[in-house]
Symmetry: C2
Subunit: 245 residues, 2 copies
């Protein structure tokens, strides 16, 4: 019998950045974790790791999962796809090695684990074989519209979450067809996003938010932003609620 | 000078139901609150009030904001609109009366306050006049897909959040045009939602979730659900991530 020694897997949403936006459940899972795994760029601690810093215990085993350096490869290229798949397989094996030894592993995920989170690549490989619990977190977009005090949807509003990587005509069509929108993955896509919002008649009302719930967060009407410089994790919010008082 | 006596307004997201999904920040705000306001049906405590029960202090002033009984009135009718507007005006005045006396008021909001929450009706009436902070919460939809262990969006997926109240053809068109969807406000709309999913070719893969993150949560493929009975707050999830391993 090895069942008694099997560890537990937690997918832990750490929220959008402010360490106080951790849930009580996330803190409890961290208190039980023998191993804390987190995805990050090679050589960087990663935001999720910083968010849980106050809950770190000296006896915790840290398992950084460093993305292969792939910036110079096209994401649609077969070489990239093969490299990233091998990385997720290897990461799952590294987590599994602890689980089979009976250790509880918390995999950190900025925001919410199953909402665009890297954790899901481990989840689909491990959750059917080990006791697993996913602890939801506050998403980056919730953090952004709350920090800006911007009601986003009410009543029968439709909300569409769009990656800025979509083609301009697809972005414009979807923006025209929704009450409210969140556009993610800005970076160098911002000029295209701006054109799509203009085509959809929604540039006015769109709000640009940088560093969501960090101490130095910044929000402004996109129409007032004088340049097209944006970090990848900045967001554009298009609030709904047309009938507001 | 009355500035020193002005109270502070908190819009507090309580998360989807599990009291452990409160954030540390929500708990801190409750610890500072003189008054805790919450929306509820007349004669019902309301879920948000139950979620914070462990953090209740005897000296807290409870301010229940009870919706007028309006089930027999059409929501598009002018009488309904006038009644609900008067209710929000009256609620804002009740909160304001405490703020001007220098009391800190926490307004509870299930899920996330600015995501379909009633709190926003108070926010737009008070936030420009009193120091205000919105504390985001875990949404009901995050609670549901996490409890079901269902990755919802990855990579460049588009997510569309749709109220089940939309007309069948609009639902079907939007469902056909998205990678992933969350359909809220089911109740008696479920048969229509089922037909729209079928028309969009997305009935297979759709998951019905009841009582999200409550102890007695239940999830099943919608295609396997033998009846069309659903509470209003049940959800249908259509997961994206076509390219999953």
């Amino acid at each position: 019998m090895t069942a008694a020694r099997t560890g537990r897997l937690y997918g832990v949403g750490t929220g959008p950045g402010d360490p106080e936006l951790l849930t009580l459940k996330a803190v409890r899972a961290l208190g039980q974790a023998d191993v804390v795994a987190h995805f990050a760029k090679r050589g960087h601690a990663g935001n999720a790791r910083k968010i849980v810093d106050a809950h770190w215990r000296p006896e915790m085993i840290e398992l950084p999962l460093a993305y292969p350096v792939t910036t110079e490869i096209d994401k649609q290229h077969d070489d990239y796809k093969a490299a990233i798949r091998a990385f997720y397989e290897e990461s799952a094996r590294a987590v599994e090695a602890h689980l089979v030894e009976g250790r509880t592993v918390a995999v950190l995920s900025e925001g919410d684990p199953l909402f665009y989170g890297s954790y899901m690549h481990l989840h689909v490989r491990l959750a059917h074989r080990f006791p697993t619990e996913v602890i939801p977190g506050v998403t980056a977009m919730s953090g952004c519209w709350s920090a800006s005090g911007l009601p986003i949807v009410q009543g029968d509003d439709v909300l569409t979450v769009l990656p800025g990587t979509l083609a301009e005509d697809r972005l414009a069509r979807r923006l025209a067809d929704t009450d409210s929108a969140v556009i993610m993955k800005l970076g160098r896509n911002l000029p295209k996003v701006r054109r799509a919002l203009t085509a959809a008649g929604k540039l006015n009302g769109a709000v640009y938010v940088e560093r969501g719930t960090m101490a130095n967060a910044m929000a402004m009407p996109l129409a007032d932003k004088p340049d097209d410089e944006a970090p990848y994790f900045a967001l554009v919010l298009v609030p709904g609620w047309e009938g507001r008082p």
